[in-house]
């Protein structure tokens, strides 16, 4: 099953989701991503944390990128290699200066400012950038705890 092993970024993602920037669509997207994480070799404890981190990234795009407009597009690619899961999240929203994307001091007790902290806490890599034409791009990487065979690798093609 070589096709599933190719993981260079120019190979098609296992799953690519295009979703409108509507808050109630977050739940189905989260469920698909969490189910895929398990297939791709994440342990149960990681699965929930990854779902949370991606929810936070999407929430930020809806709130800060699209200013709560519900008809913007968001793209999420789910990819993997033998040691990590990769999530590429792209939008067509406002390009903010990358220095604005930072977590606040957690000692300050106030609502908000937690999302970026949660993303960085859960993921092993989180890189925001501007897309060439418009919108933002967030690359997230989560290393797998075990590098043992996953369902996707052991899958029979029958």
């Amino acid at each position: 099953m070589m096709a599933m092993m190719k993981t260079a970024m120019d190979q098609p993602a296992d799953i690519r989701i295009q979703v409108l920037s509507c808050p109630s669509l977050l739940a189905p997207v989260r469920q698909a991503i969490e189910a895929w994480c398990t297939l791709a070799g994440a342990i149960d404890a990681e699965r929930g944390r990854i779902g949370l981190a991606i929810d936070e990234a999407l929430t930020n795009i809806i709130r800060h990128g699209y200013d709560h407009r519900p008809d913007g597009k968001i793209y999420i690619d789910l990819r993997r290699d033998s040691t990590s899961l990769q999530f590429i999240i792209e939008d067509e929203a406002r390009q903010v200066p990358l220095s604005e994307i930072r977590s606040r001091d957690l000692d300050e007790i106030r609502p908000g400012g937690l999302g970026v902290h949660l993303i960085r806490e859960v993921m092993d890599e989180a890189v925001w950038s501007h897309r060439p034409q418009q919108g933002m791009r967030l690359m997230l990487r989560k290393n797998l705890v075990e590098t043992s065979k996953t369902v996707l690798e052991s899958q029979h093609d029958t």
């Binding site: 398990t38 297939l39 342990i43 369902v151 052991s154 899958q155 029979h156």
Partner: protein
Amino acid sequence: MTPEGALPIDVEPAAEAVIVRPHGNVDLSTSPDLRAALQEAVARKQPHTIVDLSQVGYMDSSGVATLVEALQLARRSNGDLILCGLTDRVQSIFQIARLDAIFQIAQTLEDAMGGDT
């Protein structure tokens, strides 16, 4: 749907029977595992092959096809195949497929073992 191996399946001997118990979803990706386990079970040539579906939350037509095939295999070696423990969701595919009359379906594993279908 565990990271290691697609569909975990217990195969247990019992009095005049062998019990096959898959744990997880049975769809195109996992029905080959169920097929292999059922073939092995029927090959033990016990009078009854009991498939305990209580741990199966989802089954599609590839799972149903696998069970139809095992039923035919069991009959050919003069045995029978009994299903038990169907969850509502699994029950519903047998109804939509109108196959609930073709299979012997017991409520519980105890009923299946007692021949009470």
